[in-house]
Amino acid sequence: MRNRKTALPAKKRILRAMPAALASLSLLAGTLRITGIRIAADSGESALSAVSEAAEAPADSAAGNHLPPAGTDKVTLRVCNWEEYIDLGDWSEEDTIDLPSGDIFGENSMVDDFETWYRETYGVDVEVEYSTFGTNEDLYNMLTLGDEYDIVCPSEYMFMKLMAEDMLVPLSDTFFDEKDSLNYYVKGVSPYIREVFDSHQIGGEKWSRYAAGYMWGVTGIVYNPEYLTEEEASTWKVLADPDYSRQVTIKDNVRDSYFAALGALKSDLLTDPSFISAPDYRQRLEEEMNDVSPDTIALVQDYLQDIKDNVYSFETDSGKADMITGKVLANYQWSGDAVYTMDQADEDDFTLCFAVPEESTNIYFDAWVMLKKGIGSDAAKQHAAEAFINFCSRPDNVIRNMYYIGYTSVISGGDDGRIFEYVDWNFGAEEDEENTISYPLGYFFSDDPGDEAYILTVPKEQRQRQLFAQYPSEKSIRRSSIMVYFDADKNDAINQMWINVRCFNIKDVPVWAWVLTAALLAVPAALWLRKKERRSFTG
């Protein structure tokens, strides 16, 4: 494996090296739910630099391409994405990704590069107003309370909700035209992702009609191999394991916690060989992992209560730092953040690993969707929005984003081999390295899981390290399940369950506390009465 230490962009490295104190500021901001910091894209600066990949210059390929409607000369595109979820550029020399097929380098931010590219390709000025959100729920609240965006990047359950509530504009037919040389998304999206987006429906409509994937990942456990074996970490039951009392963390949101509790509660069923080998395994797994019947919710509530008494914290952001500083031994993590945590630990010269629980893992997809309120019937806007998706899906840009943010793109590159090349560059074993394993990625890069062209030779440890987090093995993907969005009643029920877990119940107030309170209230009351009596004498 190449040394990932030098492989981090300089800017990111500075960010990561910032003292915990500063990090806590962002935590505070997150906690106070301050979101939507608007970064006005600097369109002036972008004109100074050419797009990094000169070979992609459009002039020669523009012939069969779909152009923006005639008469458009300026478009404003309002993009809202997760925080720290796109390349902001400004890399230092040493960050250059020197693939055999050519260097890849992030000079300007992706947004600036898009503006330049769009102008040069289509002759239309586009101004991107880029803002960010912190959680899917924040985004939904922003949308329903009047913020207007053209294109946003929620996770699958949230775009399912937006689809169900008829808030989205479908992707145009031209977006799916593979003959258009600039349709990088449709030409490059992984066959696996395409299958998922085509096979899942809501209200009779395929996801893929409205949503174009951006990043994806799974959930699992980051653990310290000095204290936990891989086997111990490969189950959701570790969260309630008294052997690790107050030494594990769980995510502070109802959906992730619910999934973990379900996995632990149904562990026996989910790991039963006859269940796994059943022909309708995938479908049944998804049913089990989306079980929100009242009985199950009650069981989950009890189990989460146990987890609450066992874990170190419910965290949204602090888990990574606590893992790195050694405060906890294992933590429930999204795969992209797991990569970050392991990278950071590597810099401090100790090893952390990633495990995907045997029961099931929650696979998630963040995808671009266009909003009715923003795009409406503005064809020029929609063209720019779809071009933005395509630009982010261009293989060199995919690599820049993945390198910068640590998550895994849904793009496998299609005919363009650079993304697989990048994975090999990142994780592949040196020629003289011993103790290597072959790591097949055919399931993602090709239609055929065993495709010989997509087998990596990697150091053995990568089987439970960054590579595994970024591209989980086919075996662990097979036990992945999406978690759908629930209708209002079910959603209320699990939210109420969550509040029951997190709140102190008035029935649990001990008798002595009531007595003490009464006594404490009686003292000032008595004093006041006495004073009043005295005053009536003196007065």
Binding site: A20, A21, S24, L25, L27, L28, T31, L32, R33, T135, E137, D138, Y140, N141, T144, R246, Q247, D252, K308, V311, Y312, S313, F314, E315, S318, K327, N491, D492, N495, W498, I499, N500, R502, C503, F504, N505, I506, K507, D508, V509, A513, K531, R535, T538
Partner: protein, 266 residues
């Protein structure tokens, strides 16, 4: 003259605008959400919901407990400190006072992060003492707000009152109990209200110190992230009502405590 009057009045305009935009309007929105349901119809269901919800009431109790213990600890620490700073030889030593006030100049999330590390060293594993952590964190955060008002009241006390008490035969102890303490009550009361009320809702401290039980602030947040603006607004409104009642009560006592009324005679 009329021009002068006009300009005096116009000085108040910026604040009036601020008041309308950031106090009155949000309050109206809060009322609107609290007394409507999802369809926008007027309802008391949210109010009833709060008082029949064992979690909401339990959270209220828990918040009260955290706030009450925090306030008591702050008071026990702050009174002697303020007394010491305000009396005798240290009375003019602004530097010492500064030492106690200085933490207020540092952003509180930075202070809590530092505290987290210190507590980890002392306790070993933070997560084992959630209630203690919450109280320690809040005390650390709010202590200056208790010290300052008490210090101000004590340092402004007329020394001749204490001398008079002593001339009339009171020893140090009874002079303190019968003169200084009652006369410093206004400071104590404003200190208490400056600590108690924020401590009920400051959930950031709990989050940062890994107390995973909700207090009022985090409960409101959880309603909002479940898209329940109506229930969340009602909780905020109930909290507001508690604050108003509390302020009215302490405001009355504060009057009682000022010199020249009954306080001095107690």
């Amino acid at each position: 003259m009329s021009v002068f009057k006009f300009s005096r009045k116009s000085l108040g305009i910026p604040y009036a605008v601020f008041l309308v935009l950031f106090v009155a309007l949000p309050l109206l929105v809060l009322f609107y959400f609290a007394f409507t349901n999802g369809q926008g119809h007027f309802t008391f269901a949210n109010l009833k919901g709060f008082f029949t919800n064992p979690n909401a009431l339990g959270t209220l109790c828990y918040s009260f407990a955290v706030a009450a213990v925090t306030t008591a600890v702050c008071l026990l620490l702050a009174y002697p400190t303020a007394y010491f700073l305000a009396s005798g030889a240290f009375r003019r030593e602004g530097v010492l006072l500064l030492l106690f006030i200085m933490p207020m100049w540092i952003n509180f999330s930075l202070r809590i992060t530092a505290l987290k590390e210190i507590l980890t060293v002392i306790e070993g594993n933070l997560a084992r003492y959630p209630f203690l952590n919450a109280v320690v964190g809040m005390t650390y955060d709010f202590l200056p707000f208790m010290i300052l008002p008490i210090y101000n009241t004590i340092s402004r006390l007329d020394n001749s009152l204490i001398e008079a008490a002593k001339d009339l035969g009171a020893d140090d102890r009874s002079a303190f109990l019968k003169v200084t303490l009652p006369l410093s009550m206004p400071g104590v009361i404003s200190g208490v209200s400056m600590v108690f009320l924020p401590a009920m809702t400051n959930y950031v401290v709990l989050d940062m110190l890994y107390n995973s039980t909700y207090i009022m602030g985090s409960l409101i947040g959880s309603y909002f992230s479940a898209y329940n603006w109506h229930g969340g607004s009602m909780i905020a409104l109930v909290l507001l009502a508690i604050i108003i009642v509390f302020t009215l009560l302490t405001g009355r006592n504060e009057d009682d405590g000022t010199p020249g009324t009954g306080g001095a005679l107690l």
